[in-house]
Symmetry: C2
Subunit: 128 residues, 2 copies
């Protein structure tokens, strides 16, 4: 299953863009930014490379609360806050709860491996 990847300027730039922002951007945002440098960029390239970066564990997909996915190069376990008015996603400064998986698995016969928490509300900019 090991796929040998050749380097690609596009993929490197996608990771660089993602690491330079805290805005949890969409594929389209990445596409628009990258197009300035690669005038013939195609959307498939963005999605394929995001998929590769996700497989490599360098990027996380954020797939909730919206009709389109968003991406995050901060792969450390952490929680997200989503503004219900403007859709902005921010990191929540709250320690990751290592005990939660165990507590959730207590009552049932499931093997709980991970968890995610999303907070919703109104962000500072929108007048929270």
């Amino acid at each position: 299953m090991e796929i040998r990847h050749k380097r690609s300027r596009q993929r490197e730039k996608i990771l660089e863009l993602l690491r330079a922002t805290k805005s949890h951007p969409s594929a389209d945002w990445i596409y628009e930014r990258l197009k300035k440098e690669f005038k013939n960029l195609s959307m498939g390239t963005v999605y394929r490379n995001l998929g590769i970066l996700i497989n490599q564990g360098l990027v996380r997909k954020i797939d909730f609360g919206s009709t389109f996915d968003r991406f995050d190069a901060d792969v450390r376990p952490h929680y997200h806050f989503i503004c219900e008015r403007c859709g902005a996603i921010s990191d929540v400064e709250m320690p990751f709860d290592e005990t939660l998986n165990r507590r959730a698995g207590r009552g049932c016969n499931f093997e709980v491996r991970s968890h995610r928490i999303e907070f919703f509300g109104i962000c500072e900019k929108c007048g929270g």
Copy 2:
């Protein structure tokens, strides 16, 4: 903004179906079931009525982890477990944490109104 709704056999049946299952079904599942009773049912009817039921607070949309949405007539606050192998969604028997919103809002200037937790792993049936 108050829309007066006339009763609809289709909508009543959708709610009945959702209340009778714990499987958190998709729109398509509902459509297939309902088609037995309404032979000319259309998908738009399913989605429109699900939207109305959600606006009325009788149904919740579960929109994560998958390419399609799923729906839940249990609107009491509770958490979900998603099997990474078969995609089944189950309720987690864990008390809803009322303190979490406040704790999450402590560090930031956001008005945290609600939260959601999803647990991932392998379900009993899949050999968890």
